[in-house]
Symmetry: C2
Subunit: 345 residues, 2 copies
DNA sequence: AGTTCAACTGTAATCGATTGCGTAAAGGTG
DNA sequence: CACCTTTACGCAATCGATTACAGTTGAACT
């Protein structure tokens, strides 16, 4: 397997390995006659470069590592897809790692990627605090950009969305729909995303005079189950507010389900919003109003930053970029469009 | 980056690089004193092996490539997750590639993985026919196992489920629920999975005397949109049968949606079944009756086969294994449990 | 004709870890 | 004490491609 080497091609073509390398990589100069012989020999033998050997020599692997908290979360899945496509255009390959939302596993993955000499790493950190040592240390070794989430106290590039701006849109929309009280169903505050979103939620709620119903924040994880549980808890503890603002679509889907299971109509009695615009938010009953993240843009920016960082090398690691793209609100059926509470099918 | 080499450790410890290698890999023999010095030096310097260099020498990369038709299909996503976990236990890493359901892209990906000297490849082929040359050729170079789908005329290991047995369960269940006619909504027959499922569907339908409604098979792709379109077409062409048997959950979700949009009640008027048991099949309205694939088992078997194949080397590439696991039917609300058509909420 | 220079091509070092072979010292045996 | 094993470790080759450097050739120029 992987048997034919450059030396064999060289022998068959009657030239040196250096020449073969030059012809095949197009660097340096060579006569047309030699080029023909070499290409002929390479084709005959079915030569393919040994990427490993080349990497060792060039200390470049044309490989990027990506670490996400969970591959099964559709949001990350589509982010992975976008990154994969963006990398494809650059002729790079993707090493995918699932950290299973565990900073320790994440740390191992990061170390392992670094040991594999990837050209760069894209990571969506599992934890806003505990992920820090590994992320920071890895970032000191090679180009690293954080995606979506950000670890406090790290100095790396970051690409994500402006959560505060997004929440402003969400709250304005809910307010238009008549909401005068709202609850935020988030995940643990240890994710920068939920924290930012909550901050945006709270600020705009205050400005719009929307009552934040349970004062204590609801903390769980990014899952359907947690959405269901949170709603059950709210109902048990005194009823639902006019609106449920969820930190992501999975939670929102669970929340919607629980509302209906408990006999509350969505959006007539309770409005529900999600975040991410995963594919299934469109298919839910009712279709979910949510915040659409420009995933392709995010991925493209991340790849671009990595490429830039690779060029700059350790030379002048300039100031790090924090790119916040503005997401768009996607209004569907889980919220009320008009101020007058009107039911729509 | 990746600066400290084995030579530096050797110098600091006052030994040769050979000794450092032996100590760190635990192969060969060495005195306790030397071991201490070497470990000390390695720790002080923060030494990490250069996996690339090691791979070149060992011609092993501890890396497995996986190619799937689409990362965004939740079924493949969870398959990827399972494989990732199974590999983690073996200390191997996963190279993930998305073929975007295009055999040409798939071929490029396979070639690229082979060039990267992965230890093995797990592929779920995009096309039952067009994927053949690339799959076959790659399989001749290195261990390869096909997952879920199978390319006709290739000789490689395969792990998947017994589609025919699964369809038998589905049809029996639908028959119990009173279905006397049914349509199969599949994807293009160029996927072995849809073909097998259709075969199972047709055979059991015949045995149970269930009328196969439109004689021509409905062909599209594995997507929600296609499910919606197929139902629209059925309605336009003369109405719906008692049951819609879909080749996967995405199609089933789309079909269910379309049924309801056109005013047909599921499962009262039309029963719908899916295949794969993706997470959202549980969340749909009504929750989808579907076939659960034992993903972890599938992944584990695939990884096991690869490991075995790596050991065997080209030596005696014995007969190839075809492992068909038996999936289980998951009955939910999109079908009728009892013969008497009874509505349930 | 003698130089000069550009165009080609080959030699060999290099990337970093691994490992077969060789050897010196330590330990064992009769 | 001579001789044979082990044990412990270093030397140097090796994996395959790339590339700095040097050498060769022939054309162009003075």
């Amino acid at each position: 397997m992987q048997r034919v080497t450059i030396a064999q091609v060289a022998e068959r073509a009657g030239v040196s390995t250096a020449t073969v390398s030059r012809v095949l990589s197009g660097r340096g100069q060579f006569s047309a006659a030699v080029e023909r012989k070499v290409r002929r020999a390479a084709d005959d033998l079915g030569y393919q470069v040994n990427v490993i050997a080349r990497s060792l020599r060039n200390s470049r692997t044309d490989t990027v590592g990506m670490v996400v908290p969970s591959i099964t979360n559709p949001f990350f899945t589509s982010l992975v897809e976008s990154v994969e496509h963006a990398l494809g255009k650059e002729g790079k390959e993707l090493f995918l790692c699932d950290a299973r939302s565990d900073p320790r596993i994440e740390a191992r993955r990061l170390a392992s990627l670094a040991a594999r000499n990837v050209d760069g790493i894209i990571v969506s950190p599992s934890h806003g605090v505990d992920s820090r040592p590994a992320v920071q240390q890895t970032a000191e070794q090679l180009p690293l950009v954080q995606l979506d989430r950000f670890v406090d106290g790290t100095t790396t590039d970051w690409v994500g969305v402006d959560d505060v701006a997004a929440m402003r849109q969400v709250m304005d929309h809910l307010h238009d729909g008549g909401a005068r009280s709202a609850a935020y169903i988030g995940s643990l505050m240890t994710h920068s995303s939920t924290e930012q979103r909550f901050a945006g939620f709270r600020r705009r709620a205050e400005e719009l005079n929307i009552e934040v119903k349970p004062h204590e924040v609801l903390l769980g994880d990014y899952s359907v189950e947690w959405g269901e549980e949170a709603v059950a808890r709210l109902i048990a503890e005194g009823g639902l507010p006019d609106a449920l603002v969820c930190a992501d679509d999975l939670i929102a889907l669970g929340a919607t389900r629980a509302c209906r299971a408990h006999g509350f109509s969505v959006p007539r009695q309770v409005q529900v919003t999600g975040y991410d615009d995963i594919e299934f938010s469109r298919l839910a009953e009712p279709a979910l109003t949510t915040v659409h993240q420009p995933r392709d843009r995010i991925a493209a920016e991340a790849v671009r930053l990595l490429a830039a960082a690779s060029l700059a090398k350790d030379a002048e690691r300039g100031p790090h970029a924090h790119i916040a793209l503005v997401p768009t609100l996607v209004v569907r059926d889980s919220t009320r469009a008009a101020p007058a509470p009107q039911h729509r099918i």
